[in-house]
Symmetry: C2
Subunit: 131 residues, 2 copies
DNA sequence: TTTAATTACTATATTAAAGTAGAAATTACA
DNA sequence: TGTAATTTCTACTTTAATATAGTAATTAAA
């Protein structure tokens, strides 16, 4: 896949919260609505909250709300939160063999594909998913 | 990553075998040459052999040889051998929610990126990596 | 025909991602 | 002030990918 499961969960959550802008929604409801395992979701939500893409409200009647204009949130912002991979990874691994200096045989081809994806992540906002 | 570790191992193996066309090379040598764990590599090699991208020769002085013209082996041929994912996966998973009929919100964008990658896999042959 | 070097097979171990469980901290409201 | 509903924290479990280990099968050559 292009992105992992956790990342796609997070994108879908923000899509939902964008649809319900200015309304508090609990993790329980998000979980039911999007069919994402509740306990796993709560951890995703905590990270989204730490990253200030959503605001969280604790306690009774608490929940989550999108923290920015949907048009201000790029897919890349979300994806990066749940990403650990070094961005320039090629078939020769982590940069020790393949680097800008000593490119691996696929470096340029890879880079093109990656840039195409990355560009898509950069210029797609949550706004677009909602309408 | 775009591809997983096993897939990149396999690509590098075929790159090497293409460089040593018509020469038998043992798994041990491949392992040393490419710094791929020996035991893991042997299983990758068995699969490449089953898929007839390489010919295997057992017994003393045995080893592996590329089985086709490097120009005839597409990256996609190699990648597909070590791939289990359904090819049209979007953020809504495996096709039950997102399909051609009921597209997910990112379906078209995703498809573009995927096609760009896929095209690259399809029109890049091992030949290109060697020169 | 024996030996050594190899591929092939099968089982197990390690690691990272995904998922689950329980309880602490917080808060609205009766 | 007590209770119930929530987020947050910490630990554990499961699953899939990657890696390791041991041995069987094969084969060239002494």
């Amino acid at each position: 896949m292009i992105i992992n499961k956790t990342q796609s969960y997070a994108i879908r959550v923000l899509e939902l919260l964008a649809q319900k802008k200015d309304i508090l929604i609990s993790a329980k409801k998000i979980s039911q609505n999007l069919d994402i395992p509740y306990k796993y979701l709560t951890r995703v939500m905590t990270k989204l909250s730490e990253s200030q893409l959503v605001n969280s409200y604790r306690g009774k009647d608490g929940g989550f709300m999108i923290a920015k204009e949907p048009s201000e949130i790029k897919l890349k912002d979300i994806i990066d939160i749940f990403s650990n991979e070094s961005p320039h990874q090629c078939i020769y691994g982590d940069g020790s063999i393949c680097s800008q200096k000593t490119k691996c045989t696929l470096h340029d081809k890879w880079q093109n594909s990656k840039e195409s994806i990355n560009e898509s992540f950069l210029n797609t906002t949550i706004q677009e998913l909602v309408k």
